[in-house]
C-alpha cells in the first residue's frame, strides 16, 4: 500500500516498532477465539472481498461504501501509534489509513449525531466464535462525535505498508490510540450516527470493568489489576520491570482538551 508519512500532530511516535510477527500473532479478536493465539490460526476463513460498509443513522447522506471506494476516499498515510491493551500490554504499530473524520465529513452528520457506533462483522460461517456466548454479537463499539472527528482517530486498512492481516481486523478497522485497544473495532461493516451513547459490547458484558470512554489512564485501575504500568511486547524482557503507562497513552497534548472538566474516574 502506497502511503505518505502523516502530517497529523502526534501521529508518528519515534519509539521502536513492535515486530510484525508479534503484531500479527498476538491478538484479541474474540470472533476467532478468546486466546490471543487463536485469531492468527482461525482468521483465514474471513472473506474480505467483496466488502461493504453501511453508513446510516443521523446523516444527510447515508450510503453503503465498497471497500474499494473506502481505499480511495482519502490519501493513505502511515501513522505510528502506541497501542495500549486494557490487559496491561502495549505495542508500537505502523498503521496505514486516514483520519476517520474524512469519512464522517463526506456523509454530513446532522445535529442529532452525537455519537458514532461501529459494528464488526458477525458471521458464524466465517467467524467460529460468534456462536459462543462470550459477548453479545455483533461487536459494537462507539465514540462521542468529537472523539470520532479528532484527526488521530484512524480508519486503518494496513500495517507495515501492507494490507491488514485478517486477524488484525481486515479489511478496515478503527484505531483510537488514546483509548484501550478494545475500543478500536475491527472488520467494520456498519457505522451508525446516533443521539444516545451506544451500548457497546463490553459495556453490556461488564460495565464495571470496561466503561464507555476507556481512555488510557494510569490513575484509574481496572477492578482486577493496576493500569499504572504496562509491558511493551517484544521489548520489555522477561525480567525487566514494566514501564509506566502514560495519560491518554501519551496523546494528552493532542486529545486532553476533549475531556476538559470531565471526571475521568466517573467516566472511566
Amino acid at each position: 500500500l502506497a502511503a505518505q508519512r502523516s502530517a497529523v500532530p502526534g501521529a508518528l511516535t519515534m519509539e521502536k516498532l513492535s515486530a510484525y510477527k508479534d503484531i500479527a500473532s498476538y491478538n484479541n479478536f474474540y470472533e476467532f477465539g478468546t486466546d490471543k493465539s487463536d485469531p492468527v490460526r482461525n482468521a483465514h476463513t474471513l472473506q474480505t472481498r467483496p466488502w461493504t460498509v453501511a453508513i446510516e443513522g443521523a446523516v444527510k447522506k447515508p450510503q453503503t461504501l465498497a471497500i474499494e471506494d473506502i481505499l480511495k476516499l482519502a490519501p493513505l498515510e502511515e501513522r505510528i501509534y502506541r497501542l495500549r491493551c486494557v490487559e496491561g500490554w502495549s505495542m508500537v504499530i505502523p498503521w496505514v489509513g486516514f483520519s476517520l473524520s474524512e469519512l464522517i465529513k463526506r456523509v454530513e452528520p446532522t445535529g442529532n449525531a452525537r455519537y458514532v457506533e461501529f459494528h464488526t462483522l458477525a458471521d458464524p460461517k466465517q467467524m467460529p466464535y460468534v456462536r459462543s456466548s462470550v459477548l453479545d454479537w455483533p461487536y459494537v463499539e462507539g465514540l462521542r462525535i468529537d472523539e470520532a472527528m479528532h484527526p488521530l482517530a484512524l480508519l486503518a486498512v494496513g500495517l507495515y505498508g501492507e494490507v491488514l492481516p485478517n486477524q488484525n481486523g481486515a479489511p478496515v478497522r478503527l484505531v483510537v490510540p488514546w483509548k484501550y485497544g478494545f475500543k478500536s473495532a475491527k472488520s467494520i461493516v456498519k457505522i451508525r450516527f446516533v443521539e444516545k451513547e451506544p451500548k457497546t459490547a463490553w459495556v453490556k458484558a461488564a460495565v464495571q470493568e470496561y466503561g464507555f470512554y476507556s481512555n488510557v489512564n494510569p490513575k484509574v485501575d481496572h477492578p482486577r489489576w493496576s493500569q499504572a504500568t504496562e509491558r511493551r511486547i517484544g521489548e520489555d524482557g522477561l525480567f525487566q520491570k514494566k514501564r509506566p503507562t502514560q495519560m491518554f497513552n501519551g496523546y494528552e497534548a493532542q486529545v486532553g482538551q476533549l475531556y476538559a472538566g470531565m471526571d475521568l474516574v466517573k467516566y472511566y
Partner: protein, 228 residues
C-alpha cells in the same frame, strides 16, 4: 490428602513393607505401582511441565508475551496437580489400586511446587518483586486475594507432609489439617473463575470445576454411605 485411610497415613503413606517380606508383589496395577521405579518415574513425569516451560523461556518460544504465558501455565499446572492429588483416593476406592496411596504425597508436593512457581512468576515478572505493590495488589483485588489464600492454606500441608509430622501431630489431627485441601480446591477454582470472568470464558473453568466436583462429591457420597 486426608482420607479414611489414616492407618496408611500413619505409616507414612507407604504401603511397601519396610523390611523385605517373603510375600510376593501383587499382580496387576498394584504390583506395578509397588515397583521401586514407580516413584522416580512419577517424579520425572511431574517435572516435565517445569522443564518444558524453562526450555521455552530460554529459547524464547513462549510467544509474544512470555511473562503472561509463564504465569498462566504455572497456574494451569497447579490446578492439574491439585486434581491429580485429589483423584488418588477416589481412584483407589473405585479401582482397588490401593498402592496409588504411596504416590499421593509426591503429587501433593508437586501441586505446591507449581503454585510456588505461579506465585514467583507473578511476583517477579508481573510485579518486579515490589513487595509494597504486591501487598497492595493482594489487599485490593479479590481475585488475587483468593489465589493467595489458597497458597497460604496449602503451605502447612506441604510443611507437614513428611512421615514424622504425622507422628508428631497424631494421625487424627494430621488428617484434620490436611482436609484444608478441600478449601484450597474451592479457592483455586474461584480464583480461576474470577480471572476468566473478564473474557466470559468459562469453558475451562467448567471442566476443572466438574472434575473437582466429582472428586469431592465422591468423598461426600462415601462418607454419607458409611454413616448409614
Amino acid at each position: 490428602m486426608a482420607e479414611a485411610s489414616s492407618s496408611l497415613a500413619a505409616r507414612g503413606g507407604n504401603v511397601r513393607p519396610l523390611h523385605p517380606s517373603p510375600r510376593p508383589r501383587p499382580a496387576g496395577v498394584n504390583g506395578w505401582l509397588l515397583r521401586p521405579l514407580a516413584k522416580p518415574l512419577l517424579f520425572a513425569l511431574c517435572l516435565l511441565p517445569f522443564v518444558w516451560l524453562l526450555y521455552g523461556a530460554f529459547t524464547e518460544t513462549l510467544g509474544a508475551n512470555p511473562a503472561e504465558a509463564l504465569i498462566r501455565a504455572t497456574g494451569d499446572w497447579t490446578l492439574r496437580f491439585l486434581c491429580l492429588t485429589l483423584a488418588v483416593t477416589p481412584l483407589r476406592h473405585w479401582t482397588g489400586w490401593h498402592a496409588l496411596a504411596r504416590l499421593r504425597r509426591m503429587l501433593g508436593l508437586f501441586t505446591y511446587f507449581y503454585v510456588l512457581l505461579h506465585l514467583l512468576c507473578f511476583a517477579w515478572l508481573d510485579m518486579g518483586f515490589d513487595v509494597a505493590e504486591i501487598a497492595k495488589d493482594i489487599g485490593k483485588r479479590p481475585f488475587i486475594l483468593v489465589g493467595f489464600s489458597a497458597f497460604v492454606l496449602l503451605t502447612p500441608l506441604a510443611l507437614t507432609s513428611f512421615n514424622r509430622a504425622v507422628k508428631v501431630l497424631g494421625a487424627a489431627r494430621w488428617q484434620a489439617l490436611h482436609r484444608l485441601v478441600y478449601a484450597v480446591a474451592g479457592l483455586a477454582i474461584l480464583h480461576f473463575f474470577w480471572m476468566r470472568s473478564a473474557k466470559h470464558n468459562y469453558e475451562e473453568v467448567a471442566v476443572y470445576a466438574s472434575i473437582l466436583a466429582v472428586l469431592l462429591g465422591a468423598r461426600v457420597w462415601r462418607w454419607a454411605r458409611q454413616r448409614r
